[in-house]
Each structure stands twice: as structure tokens, then as C-alpha cells.
Amino acid sequence: MFKKLMATAIAFIAFGAQAADIPIIGQVESKCVVTQDRQGVYGNPSASVLSTDAVDGGVEPVVRIDVVLADAYKAVITHPSSFSQSPALSDVVAWTGSTSVEAVSDAGMSAYDTSKIEYDYTTEIDLTIAGSTWFKISSEADYGYQKALPGGTYTAVVEANCIAL
């Protein structure tokens, strides 16, 4: 009799344990993540030119911007207009460059290339679709009038901003 009572009690306790809920709580919040996917390298196709173009022996930097919610951020990317580090230069450097969409996680993002706003050295794009966009930045520095760049290390900075709307 006692054994039967114990078995029934254990069965009830076990039933209670099975009914317990273990919640898993998650939250999706708006955020922007800026990722350097590929560091750029300047090639030196001629004595007076440094260029990230692959044809010139360079590597174009790639920045990935991820947004969790649509219409929450804009990307503001500025290609270089000066060297952050270089040997002493006695002549002017003419800078050119551009920012374009290299890859997208959503087909609709391909419209970013046509809707972007460009001014000075800067490109602004409203991130109207949630997901990841890879931006490719090109940069070229022409020194003087076909003047040879002095030997040394040259570094320039690409600025990638993600600004909440």
C-alpha cells in the first residue's frame, strides 16, 4: 500500500516537472554594424600615381554595413583626400575616387547605386532595406605634374559613417 502511494506521489511530482516552461527570450533591436571586409592597398603603376585599382596593382577596400531595421540609418562614406602618413611632399596631390555597391544581401539594394548622393569626396546612401551591403571604394592619388613620388610608406583613410535617421 505504502509503495503504491509513493509511486503515485512520484508520478505526480514528475508530471509537475514536465509541465514547467523554460522561456528563451530574444530581442531584435535596431543597430548598425560597420565591418572592414577588405583592407585596401595602393599599387604604384607609374612614378607619380598611387591607385587602388586592380589594373594598377592595387586592392580596393571593401566596407560592409549591416542594418537590422530598414530606414533607420544612412551610410556616409568618404574616400581619401589626403595622406594620413607619407614622406614629405613638395607638390600638390590630385585625389580622385568613388564609392559603389559591390554586393548586396537583398536584390532591392542594387538601387543604392542609382539613389546615392555624391558631393566632394563623400557618398551618402539611405539604407532603406534591412540587411548587408558591401561598398567598394576606389582611390587614386596623382602627384604634381607627372612628378615622381618620394620613396616611403603612404597611408590614407577611408571614413565609413553609419548615421541614425
Partner: protein, 124 residues
């Protein structure tokens, strides 16, 4: 030469380098000091090439607004999260629109482009 440059680019890109700054829309709350408001921001550093970040506060035209925080430039180790408390005086509060974090880049020895990342949250 081109192949070497491309290979170098691929090797440099093998690691993930990301910067995250949340929340997107922070709210200002009364701090423990009368007349001073505060908000908590969170920085996540997964940029292996960056260990220092600076914090900035701007108005709608990106003009700097006075603020206080523990460190204007803070060391944040790779794959670490940092809580940043931003304090703003009551009289500056109507002007504050953007609270930003910006990566600080160390000098390098290769002829390259570096990435300075800045993320700005907005007070609505």
C-alpha cells in the same frame, strides 16, 4: 606583382573587423546629479586592428556639443563590449541629436588605405 598585391589583400581580409554602437535611439534620463542627464551606450569591438574609440556628441548640424563621460577615448579590447555613460547638462539637452563613437587607427607600415568607422545614434 599584381598577384602578390591581390594575395596580400585577401590575407588582410581573412579576419572580420566590425564596430557596433547601440542603442540606435537612446533616451536621456535624469542622472544622480541635479541638472545633468545621462544615457548608457554600448560599444562592441570586433575590429582586431582597432583598440581605441573616441566618443562624440553633436547637434543636428554635426557641431560638437559639450558633454562628459568617463573617458573621451577608451581602450576596448578585441571582442569586448564596453558600457559608455554620456552625461549632458540640462541647458545643452535640447541641442543634442547625435551620440557617436569613432575608431582610432594606429600608424601602419604598408602603403594602404585604412578604415575609420563612425556610428552615430540619434536622440529623437
Amino acid at each position: 606583382m599584381r598577384f602578390v598585391m591581390l594575395l596580400l589583400g585577401c590575407l588582410l581580409s581573412a579576419e572580420i573587423h566590425a564596430h557596433q554602437w547601440t542603442p540606435t535611439y537612446p533616451t536621456m534620463e535624469q542622472s544622480f546629479v541635479p541638472g545633468v542627464y545621462q544615457t548608457k551606450m554600448y560599444l562592441w569591438n570586433s575590429r582586431k586592428d582597432v583598440s581605441y574609440y573616441t566618443f562624440e556628441v553633436f547637434d543636428k548640424d554635426f557641431v560638437a556639443v559639450p558633454f562628459a563621460t568617463g573617458e573621451r577615448t577608451a581602450r576596448v579590447e578585441y571582442l569586448k563590449k564596453k558600457e559608455v555613460v554620456i552625461y549632458i547638462r540640462e541647458q545643452e539637452l535640447p541641442d543634442v541629436v547625435y551620440i557617436c563613437s569613432r575608431s582610432q587607427i594606429l600608424q601602419q607600415d604598408n602603403t594602404a588605405t585604412l578604415l575609420s568607422s563612425r556610428i552615430c545614434s540619434k536622440i529623437k
